[in-house]
Structures are given as C-alpha cells and as structure tokens.
C-alpha cells in the first residue's frame, strides 16, 4: 500500500508514515532507556506479554511499591486539603530525586503525620470533655440548690407515704440514708451530666419508669451547641441533675445514662470547693488550648514541608509507575539477558529514537548498546497527525466521528476553513460576529493562564476550541456584511442602494414597490430589502439556491477527495468504477440544477426551475414550452438523463466481477506464503502471519457494492436537500434577531422614558447573549458539524483507523489506573 504521490506532500493531508520498530535493550540500561523514550514520546509500545496476568509480570513488585507510594501521596493530599495547605506550584529545582530516597521519606512523613493526628485527636477530646465539665459546673450550680430542696421535699413525701403503708420490705430498701424518723435529714445522692437535647425527653421518661418515680430530675438547656467529645460534632445539649436515694437506683440510672450517651461529670455541693474547681478547670482548658494550637501549628509546618516537594514526588511516582508498566510489556529474552520491545513510531523519528538509545546506554554504563531495527508487517499502523494548538481543535472534530484510516485523505484539512464558513452562513450577523470574536480573544489572550489551571467541563471545551470560535467569528463578520445585518439593522456601507421609488412622490412604494434604478449593490444584500414586505420571498429564494450551490460544491469536493485516495492507494478499480460514475451521476442531476440556477440569475428569465427538473424526469421528450431557459435545452436534458441512468449500473456491476478476477489472479500466483525471517524472538512471527489467506465471498462483495450504490444514488437527493438547513437556520437567526431588535429595543425607545429604556436595553442584551450568542451558536455549530460528518465525509471517508497513543510522560493522566 505504498503511496503514489501525484502531487507534492502536504502537511495534515495524510497521516504520518509509521513503521514497526523492534528494540533489543540490555537489562541494565532498560529503565533508563524507557525513561528517555518516555521523554521523547514518539513510540507506541505493543504489549508482548498480553497473555500474562498482572501478577505474573516481571515488574509486579515494583508496581506495587509505586502503588504504595501513590497511596501515601493521596493521603498527604487529603490531609493538605483538610488543613487548607495547597502544594506549592513552583516547579522547583529539577533535581533528579531517587525513587528509593523518596520512598523512605514518604514513609517517615506518613508515620509522623499519623502520630500527630492521633495525638491531636486525643487532646481535642480531652479539651471537649473539660469544656463540658465546666458547663456542668456552671449550669448545675445555678439550679442545684433549688433542685435539691425540691428533691428533698419530694423524698420526704414518698418516705412518709411508704412509712404510712408500713410495707414489709421497707427496711430492706433502706441501705444507709433512710431512717424510721421522718424528721431526720434525708440524704440524697445525685448524678450530673450532659445529655443531647433530642434524647432528653426519652431519658426523663425512662428514668421515671425505671425508678418508679423515685427520682427527681432537673434539666437546663445550654444556649449554644456543644462539641461532643466522642463524635466531635456540635450538638445541642442539656445539663441535667438527677437526685436519687439508694444504691440500686444509682446503678439503674448509671446504666441508663450510658445507654443514652449522656456524659457524667462529678459535682460537689460544697460552695467553696465549687469555685475552686471552676478556676482549676478554666486553667486546664486554657492550657489544653495552647497545647492543641501548638500541635496544629506543628502539623501545618509538616504539611507545608511536604507541600514543597509534593508535585515533584507525585510526578516521579506516576512516571516510575508508567515506566514499569511499559517494562512489563516487553518480553524477556532469558538467554541473551535483554528485553525485546516492539512498537510503532513515525518514520521521521528514527534519528531521535536512536539518539535516545545511545544516550541511555552510555549513561547506564552498559557493555552493549541497544539494537534498533525496522520490522515489516502487514498490520495496519496507527494514525498520527502532527497538530499544533491551532489545528488540533479541528482534527478533534473529525476524529470524534472516526479516526482516519492509515494515510487516507484527512478531511480535517478542509474542515479548518469549511466548518467555520458553514457555521457563518447560518449565523450571518456582523454584530454578533464581533461579540463572538471578542469572546474568543478573551480566551486566546489568557491562554497561558488557563492551560495551567484545571477548568470545569464547559469551560474546558470552550477553551479547547478557542481558535475554532475565532475563525467562526471572523467568517460570521464576513457573512454578516454580506447579509447586511448588524444586530438585524442594515447599513449602506458599500455604496448607494440600487432601488428607488418609481416616481418622485413614492405613491406606490407600498403597493407595487420600488424599481431597480442603479447598478447592483456592490457587496452583499441591498439595504432596502430589510423590513420590506417582499423581503422574505426574495431572501428565501436566494438562500435556498445558495444552500444548493454550496452543497453541490462541497459534495463534489468530497468525491474528488475519494479520487485522490484511490490514486494514493493504487486502486484503479475505484477510479474507473466508482469515482467517474459518481461524478457523472451527481453532476448531471444536481450540477445541472446549479447551472440552471446561475443561468436564471444571469438572464433574469422567469422560468420555474421546479418544473424544469420535474418534467426532465417525467416527460423528457416533451416540448419545453415556457420552461425553455436556453437553446438546445431539451437535447441537453435528454443526454444528461441518459448519462445518469447509465452511471447507476456502471457503479454497481463491473466492480464485484473485476474484484473476483483480481482475487483469482493473486491466488493462482501464490503457492506459498511469504517466508518470514527466522529471527531471535519467536513471538514476533506469531503476530505477523495473520493475513495469509484472504477469503473472497462473491455474494458478500456484490451486496456490499449494491448497498454502496443505493446509498449514493438515494443519498445524492437527500444530501442535497439536507444542505437546505443552511437556509433554515440563517432564516431563524435573522428573524430572532429582528424580533429582539424591533419588539424590545425599539419598543422601549418609543416610550421616551429613561427607566423603560434602560430596562429595555438590559432585556435586549440578555436575550441577545442568551438566545442568539449561546443557543444559536451551539445550534449552528451542531448543524455545520452534521453537514461535515454526514454529507461531506460519507463521500470518501473510511475512518476505521486507530489513534497513535505514544508512551510519553507529557501525556500521563491525573488518575492512577
């Protein structure tokens, strides 16, 4: 499939010539070699160990090491984010840091960080407990004495009651405090603590039930939320004091407190001691605070130190991991102590690769240098286009439909111009074009800043397409000048209008209309058309015919590109039995229509083109009558019709038979297959002898050709009609724009009120930006894209190649695999 160049080579027209290379690398220099090749980024390695599982591969342990280090780095990153420290983005000295060193350091840092975290957690918990204790002391102190006296009163009542009943087991209930004499001082025990407010009601109820009402509970709410020592969250809590008598009751209450998660704190009823305890606790709290702060400062410093080298480490770990992954793809030649690598690389990169190999061998002091050889194979190479920041957007648009087959004609080349052009035909307004242009300039001037940042999805897409948008805007300005629309207002920029009133009083300007008095308006649409009653019939006819002419041109370009493809791949069959009949068919029908359109415009005749085309098919031999546009039209039409009819079987029939004959010839002369070089690696052969014996199914080929023919014939009508969307969207755009202008801006102007005018202007701006600049842009973008993908590219594009994905450090993705 060597290319025959009829014409000099053009960048981006065909993908770079690629070759399959084999590298034999001695083991000692393997790591360094792969590292240099990764810097170069021009080889796509093939996986020679595809059958092995990840655990069976040679460098699995190294990858695990890198995985561990990556985990530690992730942990650091989390901690840094939580503490609000960002890794320093300065590129720092490009010191070559060693992997083993980094591993040790990472381990140290991790241990230290974990320890600091554990300590500060403990400190924080103690601190919160102290705070709660202080709260209990303060709050309980407020209501303690009143509560105690009510509790004592209640207890006396209960005692009296019980004593009155004289139950037998009352002596058993008494442990210490109760005496037979009710006048004696009642000794109560109490428990104090904090309980979450939401559980307080249930707490009270259960205590009441469990102790059969023999306790007195007093609660007071804390105004602000308290940090719970256990969970660390801020919860609304109540301070409670429970007065009870009896040991059994005490244990029950304690159990209930535990179940409800109420934190208990000791409380003394001694007033003096209370004040002392409060001051002690406050001191301790202040101490804790300082300790915690110091701890946090220490941790932040540690994180900052980590942050200086974080990006470097991150990059190093990812780089090493990718190097080991690549090394795993090479096959080991155990006998010769070297690794064999196979990969695709562009032909122009030979020198660079060999340089990298030499450098690696000399730097790693190995005895033997690496061996570089080119392999010959029938496999299809990957597709590689060398794009820059300007052309990459357009190439992405084409690749989204399908990656080009190796070295077929690349529609991306023409897309750079035709895509913005078709967009502009649908968008034509030079006011909107200027706004879009300014927006694209904003992104272009901030290129450096944006390319370093991480942008959101939408912004990323717009930023990636900034040059595309700039071209779209420039073409829109041009088509806007031609359609003569500046936010739907026409201007007389290029000379005087050609139309004027029939007489000086302009009496029938609104009935019969103006007449053409001067030369045609030199550039674009005459400004007198805008706002007139016959504007739409004229513009519709103009834009429809324009769409057909543009469509026929683009489709012809597509078919011509298929000729260049056939020439390049040396496929004569395709030229004689596909390209020529396709051209004849398309042009004898729609090319003829285009010629008729132009002739009608040039002669100003009033024939109906619909009639001409329809009767050309229905009754070609009839007399033309009023449908005659030029002399000899009937004969011309008959000839064209015959040519089109002949072209269809020409496309369909000969090719399958000739393909069959070709296959038979090839098969006869081929008794043996090509001998493969008996080389070192046996694995190489296994991959290369695939395409020895091709099958040829005649029925399959015939059906394929039939489908192709029908698709082309029917498609020529439908694709031509599809280009009418250029008219439809352009009409929609100009109508929307004129509605916003007339019904918003002019209406607001008519009120002669400054406030209404300002409101009107705001509404006009929002509507223009939202509907016309955003929605219409997307819409026209989408339709121009469809016209390219379907109507243009299905004439010649195969698009079943695969992308060249070299091993390059510059292309390492953010996520770990």
């Amino acid at each position: 499939m060597v290319g025959g160049g009829c014409c000099p080579s053009m960048e981006l027209f065909r993908s770079e010539p690629m070759q399959l290379v084999q590298l034999i690398i001695p083991i000692e220099s393997a790591h360094m070699t792969i590292s240099y090749l990764g810097d170069l980024g021009l080889i796509q390695f093939k996986d020679l160990n595809a059958e092995k599982s990840p655990f069976q591969r040679t460098y699995a342990t190294q990858i695990k090491r890198c995985g561990e280090m990556a985990r530690k780095l992730r942990f650091f990153r989390e901690q840094m984010m939580k503490a609000g420290v960002s890794p320093s983005t300065s590129p720092a000295r490009q010191v070559d840091i060693d992997l083993d060193d980094s591993e040790l350091k990472l381990g140290e840092f991790e241990a230290e960080l974990i320890e600091i975290n554990a300590n500060s957690e403990k400190l924080q918990r103690t601190y919160n407990e102290l705070l709660e204790y202080k709260l209990v002391l303060q709050k309980a102190g407020e209501f303690f004495y009143t509560a105690q006296s009510s509790a004592t009163a209640q207890q006396r009542e209960i005692d009296a009651h019980q004593f009155d009943e004289g139950s037998i087991d009352s002596p058993l209930l008494l442990e210490q405090e109760m005496s037979a004499d009710p006048s004696k001082q009642v000794k109560l025990g109490f428990i104090s603590g904090l309980i979450p407010r939401e559980k307080s009601m249930a707490f009270e109820r259960i205590i009441f039930r469990a102790t059969r009402g023999n306790v007195f509970l007093k609660q007071a709410a804390v105004e602000y939320s308290v940090t719970d020592p256990v969970s660390g969250e801020k919860i609304e809590k109540n301070v409670f004091v429970v007065f009870y008598s009896g040991e059994r009751v005490k244990t029950k209450i304690l159990k209930i407190c535990e179940a409800f998660g109420a934190n208990r704190y000791p409380f003394t009823d001694d007033l003096r001691k209370q004040a002392q305890i409060i001051t002690e606790v406050s001191e301790k709290i202040a101490e804790m605070k300082t300790t915690i702060d110091v701890g946090l400062l220490h941790r932040d410093n540690l994180l900052k130190t980590i942050g200086y080298q974080f990006e470097q480490w991150d990059f190093l770990v990812r780089k090493e991991k990718s190097i080991y992954h690549t090394l795993n793809m090479l096959s080991i030649d155990v006998t010769k102590k070297c690794l064999v690598a196979e990969g695709w690389s562009p032909v122009f990169a030979i020198k660079q690769i060999q340089d990298a190999l030499h450098r690696a061998s000399s730097e790693s002091n190995s005895q033997v240098g690496a061996i570089f050889q080119v392999l010959h194979t029938k496999e299809s190479p990957p597709t590689y286009f060398r794009t820059n920041k300007f052309t990459s957007a357009f190439q992405t648009i084409v690749d989204a439909y399908g990656v080009a087959k190796y070295q077929e004609a690349n529609p991306g080349l023409f897309t750079i111009i035709t895509f913005p052009f078709l967009f502009a035909v649908m968008f034509g307004d030079w006011g909107h074009g200027i706004s879009l242009f300014l927006a694209s300039l904003f992104f272009i001037f901030r290129e450096k800043k944006f390319s370093g940042q991480k942008l959101g999805d939408m912004t990323e897409m717009i930023f990636g397409g900034r040059y595309c948008i700039m071209l779209m805007a420039m073409f829109s300005i041009y088509t806007g000048l031609i359609y003569n629309e500046f936010f739907s207002v026409p201007f007389e920029l290029f000379g005087k209008s050609a139309y004027a009133c029939r007489d000086t009083l302009c009496r029938d300007a609104t009935t019969v209309g103006l007449i053409k008095v001067g030369p045609t308006y030199p550039f674009g649409l005459d400004p007198k058309w805008h706002g007139s009653r016959s504007e739409l019939p004229f513009l519709n006819s103009l834009k429809m015919k324009m769409s057909i002419l543009i469509g026929v041109t683009q489709m012809n370009l597509g078919i011509v590109l298929s000729y260049f493809n056939a020439k390049f791949f040396g496929n004569g069959l395709n030229i004689w039995f596909q390209f020529i009949p396709q051209m004849i068919f398309l042009n004898s029908l729609f090319g003829y229509l285009s010629v008729l359109i132009i002739m009608k415009w040039c002669t100003g005749s009033q024939v109906d083109l619909y009639h001409i085309m329809i009767y050309m098919f229905l009754s070609p031999t009839d007399d033309l009558g009023e449908n005659q546009l030029f002399v000899g039209q009937k004969n011309v039409q008959l000839t064209l019709l015959l040519l089109a009819l002949v072209a269809v079987p020409w496309m369909l029939l000969p090719k399958p038979f000739l393909l069959k004959k070709q296959h038979q010839e090839r098969h006869q002369g081929q008794s043996y297959m090509m001998l493969h070089r008996t080389d070192d690696s046996l694995e190489v052969e296994a991959h290369h002898d695939s395409h020895g014996h091709e099958e040829f199914e005649f029925s399959e080929v015939f059906v394929h050709q039939l489908i192709h023919t029908i698709e082309f014939v029917l498609g020529s009508v439908s694709n031509t009609a599809s280009y009418l969307r250029l008219w439809a969207l352009s009409l929609a755009h100009s109508e929307l724009s004129s509605v916003f202008y007339e019904k918003v801006l002019l209406l607001a102007w008519g009120f002669n009120n400054i406030i209404i005018l300002i409101i009107g202007i705001m509404v006009f701006i929002f509507a223009t930006v939202g509907v016309l600049l955003v929605m219409e842009t997307l819409s026209a973008f989408l339709h121009a894209l469809r016209l390219h993908w379907v109507e243009f590219m299905n004439k010649f594009y195969e698009g079943d190649g695969y992308q060249f994905q070299p091993f390059a450090f510059a292309l390492l993705s953010e996520e770990d695999d």
Binding site: K516, R533, W601
Partner: protein, 70 residues
Amino acid sequence: MGFLITTLIFIVTGVIASLLVRICCNRGPSGNLFHLTLVITATVCCWMMWAIVYLAQMKPLIVPILSEGE
C-alpha cells in the same frame, strides 16, 4: 462589469494573502502547501458567497415593497 471587477479584486486579495502567509510563516514545502490550500479554500468560499448574492440581485424578479410607515 461590476461582477468581473470584483471577482478580480477577490483573486488579487487571495494572491496577496498567500504571499503574506508565505512571508510570515515559511515552514518548508509541505507546510507552505498547507497554508496555500487554506488560503485558497477561504478565498474561494468567500468569493462564492459574494458572487451568489450579487448574481441574485443583478436581474431581480421581485422588488422591495415597502411596508406601511416607512
């Protein structure tokens, strides 16, 4: 007459643009051919659009009928 003159202007603009591009970014034969293709495509597209709109207005079949209040 105006049609031919303006077509000539387009051709001249195309030639000047390709010369400018050749002067400013000279990148070897394949790169130059690439730039030339882009300039020619753009010139042809722009000329085609202008020519279509001009031809359509040369001998019009309908004329502007002003709406009331113009």
